[in-house]
Amino acid sequence: MKNYRNFCIIAHIDHGKSTLADRLLERTGRVSAREMTMNQILDDNPLEQERGITIKLHAIQMDYKANDGETYKLNLIDTPGHVDFSYEVSRSLSACEGALLVVDATQGVEAQTISNLFMAIDQGLEIIPVINKIDLPSAVTTIDNVKQQVIDLIGCKEEDMILASAKAGIGIDEILETVVAKIPPPKGDPKAPLRALIYDSIFDAYRGVVVNVRVFDGTMKEKDKIVFMNTNQTYDLDEVGVLHMQRQRTGILEAGNVGYFTAAIRRLQDSKVGDTVTLANNPTTNPIEGFREVKPMVFSGIYPADSDDFEDLREALGKLSLNDSAISFEPESSSALGFGFRCGFLGLLHMEIVQERLEREFNQVIVTTVPNVRYKVITTRDEILWVDNPSQLPNPTLIKEIQEPFIRAQIIAPSEYVGTIMKLCMDRRGTMLGQSYLSADRVDMTFDLPLAEVVFDFYDKLKSNTRGYASLDYEYSDYKQGELVRMDILLNGEPVDALSSIVHRQKAHEWGKKLCAKLKELIPRQMFEVAIQAAIGSKIIARESISAIRKNVIAKCYGGDISRKRKLLEKQKEGKKRMKQVGKVEIPQEAFHAVLSID
């Protein structure tokens, strides 16, 4: 056990985490130079590579012969790189004894890095600071500043920092030596009752769920009967092993090590991240702390574009949830969109990923509604209702109060943008909780913000208003009462349930106006004039109208035009079918998430 080292890399997107991981794999001979040509091996999902982020966790074991002559087994555990997945980050951190803190020499410390770093420090991890990209020409002017930021942050000495360039292969040996020297070997008793932490699980079509674990105490062997302590499910271990580039079967996994097992588990939900695995015949009484149920925070309706495809969509969501245990989905119906699902996501990025996966991997053509948060409604009879679909909000006379989720947002940016950021957050109903300077020109601001205000384009706005310099991290805080009302959209007097939203009373007017104007742009002219109205209860707060089609007829249709025209009509008819009908009004699918494109 003394030759094991379990560690992860904490870094902001683009600060070079994946490149560094690749370089470590190459240096320890886990990957040949030929394999290196396909870059960034850990991010194996095409979506991850496109977005430059890690969604699913990966781990890999390397054999490293250190300068002391000993060979060490280094388990590098990857962490997801997005705030939507902060719980997964916390679980993968608790599988480690140390972390490499990678900071870009030209960019400095970012919000995401800080929150993950603090999480690591809280869990008692040994932090090894690495300043990356030192070979970039612009690093000459920025590196001292960046070093100072890191010193201020973790209180290390300048000589503790490793100067590296993953791209150029600088500092790689020093990193590996430091990992061996500084990160403590795992503690644990191989003879004690089994305690293993699930930090990730993935679904494999052939073996069922493959569970990735860190064993803290005890030993797991093939054929052992295991128990998941939180779900209380029992299984017989089929296959146990460690993670090289592929899974390497070893039959046994002992305290201190990181590896995987399979046990003919069919549902990802049975092996929840953060749960403790123990043996059925010799269980531990001491499960690993920190488990919590992952709760979706953002909700949206997902409907098949063609209502005949409802069952296909159900099947696709079912399959998708096999390897995404964070998504939730319940059937719902809408008068505008027919039958579909109300889906819950960890955050906006998670939502986008699910939508893209449905389209790319499962060939579903879907219509999505505007995302919203889950509201807590206290009725006049003091019942608590959780509302994740605005059209389900009870009649206002039955509501005592509505509460909405808030987040604590941390924004780090150059100090020249303080005013801009304050204004943006105030506009989003935020309250500033604190502000501190990381260096003379770099500020760290904390805000209390309603999640609903961040769900839309907050991140894009923040980035564009600060020329991309600001970074954002947030954690969920609590529910607070708000002056919230349901705003309905009516087309020719008929409410369109899928376009209802819950908004702050003071913002309803402006929001209603913008939404009506956007819908006017998106809904094509029809045979009749269409009135678009935004209403709170029976009160109309904004309106627009779309004038009727004035002329739509092609002047000529002679012998040579007929088959061409027939083919055109057949194509147009398909387009018409994809339109959703409310009363007599046909609505294109884009209109259902129109709000997302409002300025």
Binding site: M527, R550, N552, V553, C557, G560
Partner: protein
Amino acid sequence: MRGYYLHIPFCEKKCSYCDFYSLETTQHIDAFVETLLREITMRADDATDTSSTTPVTSVFFGGGTPSLLSPATLTRIVNHVRAHVAVAANAEWTMECNPGTVTAETLQGYAAAGINRLSFGVQSFTASELEFLDRIHSADEASQAMSLARAAGFENVNMDLMFAVPGQTYDTLQYNLQRMLALQPDHISAYSLIYEHGTPLFAKMKKGLVTPTSEDVDAAMYALVIDTLTRAGYEQYEVSNFARTGKRCMHNRTYWLCESYTAVGPSAHGLLGSTRYWNHRSLTQWTAKVHANELPEANRETLSTNEQLTEFLFCTLRAEGIPIATVQQRFGIDIRTALAEHLPDWMSADFVRDTGSHLTLTAEGYRVCDELTLRMLACVE
């Protein structure tokens, strides 16, 4: 009824808006005519054409500019058709003419050959509009052509008019209409300018050099055209076609009733029963095929019942109306029931009328014909 179409693919000058196949030359006409005669023979001898038992009720020379043919050449073609194809004695023989290329002699020659209907591409009586449209004739030449036609004995003359031309105003359109009405044509085809893919006009539009007339102005101009022509005694019997009583174009009605028509010449489209074919859109390819004793078709397709239904509905709706009993007989569909969701609205909004035998469009209905068609087709699958 049954039609016969001959495509004459030559023009002195091509018009910027026209997407019909035509070459800007008169050089190859003689060779073309020889090939055309061979195709006529081949088509007459085509054993696969089972629709040919019906006598032809209309023959149409289109183009291009058929009036580039000399009377002698035209006579040869007419005689060749008569020799190989069964043409009814009272058939309609139409020829498209450019008002700038006809003379008293040529018109008399065409009449003598058996042509009994002329169609003049007049388009406008306003010089700036004629220039925009690349027309080679003047307003006065159009008037003159009409006198010559009457003098030559033609009692069935169509004039084409174009509206929603960039630069056109309500006043110039009204002026064009009045000038045209003064000439008392028997039939008027009034088209809203179409920006066809692949035409120089389309390219200009894409480059922003030409701004199409807005939908609202186009609609208002269309209303003006319909109103003016119907007041002057012309009946609208199709989106763009107006005729005095008894002067509807037999040939075009063949298209709109989905009846068979043979077509010869490059790019020509024919319908034989339920088979549509189209000839090569290249004089060279078309010629080569005919000379190899092969039908010069680029392709053909046999329509499924559903496709036939689609064509029948959209063609009849935009013309004289959907014949309710025919749809029932041919396709087993009760069109009133199929459209039950929309018909009451359409009738109360005065887009559609139910005459008992037909569902016909009103002037308002013609204006939004394509939109109605799409909704109608969505109901009858």
